[in-house]
Symmetry: C2
Subunit: 340 residues, 2 copies
Amino acid sequence: MIDRKPDNSRLPTLADVASRVGVSTATVSRCLNEPDRVIGATRERVMAAVRELGYSPNFGARALAARRTNTVGAVIPTMENAIFARGLQAFQEELGENGITLLVASSSYRADLEEEQIRTLAARGADGMLLIGYDRDPAIYSFLKRQGIPVVIAWAHDPRAGVASVGFDNYRAMKALAHAVISRGHSSLGIVSARQAGNDRARERVRGIVDAAAQAGLGSDRVHIVETSYGIDEGAQAFEALMSRENRPSAVMCGNDVLAVGAIGRARELGLDVPLDVSVTGFDDMELAKLSFPPLTTIHVPHRRMGQEAARLLMSTAKTGSENSNILLETEIRLRGSLA
Amino acid sequence: MIDRKPDNSRLPTLADVASRVGVSTATVSRCLNEPDRVIGATRERVMAAVRELGYSPNFGARALAARRTNTVGAVIPTMENAIFARGLQAFQEELGENGITLLVASSSYRADLEEEQIRTLAARGADGMLLIGYDRDPAIYSFLKRQGIPVVIAWAHDPRAGVASVGFDNYRAMKALAHAVISRGHSSLGIVSARQAGNDRARERVRGIVDAAAQAGLGSDRVHIVETSYGIDEGAQAFEALMSRENRPSAVMCGNDVLAVGAIGRARELGLDVPLDVSVTGFDDMELAKLSFPPLTTIHVPHRRMGQEAARLLMSTAKTGSENSNILLETEIRLRGSLA
DNA sequence: TTGTATGCGTTATCAC
DNA sequence: GTGATAACGCATACAA
């Protein structure tokens, strides 16, 4: 526990500013919140005093009295890599322009931690919340509803879910990529996926590949799936596991770019040429993808756009109370050197 | 602005729990904060009511009354890449074990935004704060001191600064790497640095290279510096700028791994072989480094250790009020394929 | 062990 | 346009 260092000189409060200027606390409060409603002359004097004293309003007290925090929370699976960084940055920027602060927490892809973080953010008075994907205990949704906290789901799209969302069709995107891979003659596919349990995005992506394979007449024995957690090393290991099977896939499709880059690295270590010996694909089109050698064939996701729209949606959802706005963004295949 | 959806069923408060159980609010409060001080039987009934009502304490009110938030803030330059992610993760874990929540904000490497974030975190009642590097307006330090908020600086080490810190010697680390580069016969160096103004880490690193070059008898005309902002594309452009000068450096030392990876990528696009045509080095030893092709020669920084120590230091600094604990961590050169 | 009462710093309602 | 003053939800010193 952290105890504040005993501080003899108490922090300046609204009352301090007020008494110094010789006005009431109400006036000072107004100067800060609705400057128009106070006459120019007094406002100047108040603001001067604010600066001199280094006054800064107490957030907790303000939230308590105003029953609003101008804060929204976001719980993302991880901060360890840049997957969510760009989208979140855009989200934050859009909120910032509207005077709203963003609080970010990460769940490490664990449902229990996510729930804890959500409750923490709610207790901190978040006026709204951004969550990634749909999969979670329904109790969480009803908790949020009881609290009157509007929610927006990002990175996924399911109009039937009854929650506002902005995202893309993970299934369709990955299926299209799988078609592209198969049409190049690959008849044995490897899949490196994040754990599918509790992760609708991962599940939809795998389903996309499996369906594409089935439609192309590839038996289920031609599709090998390995689940792992997101991470470069994990991708590398999963890739190696796939390559050491009896009938090696000629193309390995990864659930995201981080896994794919790990796979490519391991291929090099194993003396396998990408894409001559084995093709590799990713998902996300992070900066990493263009930079990898060979550059990564992947699905481009409009992360910035998604973050921005999520912010707008959250603000309007909060205003109107409508819970069923769903924005579908288009993804795009980016063909690069890792696929032959 | 976000207005909470008008919620007819007010959230349960301490008083609701109390009246339902038939005890005083004080007892309920104690059940939550010091369970030992209340007898088993009543505690059970209280906790049951808490669950039934879905009660969750109001953070603002609690902070207001207790004058403590069990929250610490961290302002990092960027979340866009993983430079600070690992250290921060460890920082958070260590804090979490002690029941403390971490609030993260990013400054985009801008001094004005950093100051704003610091004030915001202070207003939110942060009991302590983690900042990166020393360089900032002295007014900020005195503001924090007035607020009684203990500070720990990370990613840098300067015992004379009079602030608690845990970090490494950026100057010495980079100087050692420069020696390694020069000893391999490179007599013309390029430097791709972050902007040095307001960034002591960047400045120290450049100074390390420059001093090493001088000690090796390389004139200042043999050291070319380009400043840019951190980013893969930025690294690529800076690298290209260096390579298009009349006397091309044979080795380009970058201020961090992100820049270096960008440089290597651009080298490939320009048809330059790394390391045959030009050597490239980084700083940080992110996951990226091993994965780059060729793998990156860089400085290994014990990020996790740094985050963990920072958390401990912050907690003990808060307890003891001692402001001048400085922990120096050792870095290590990692020689890999990008340097010949 | 439990209850009472006060105060935390701000906003908002209502007078003036 | 400005000033009193009552909430806001909780923790805590003190009393019982």
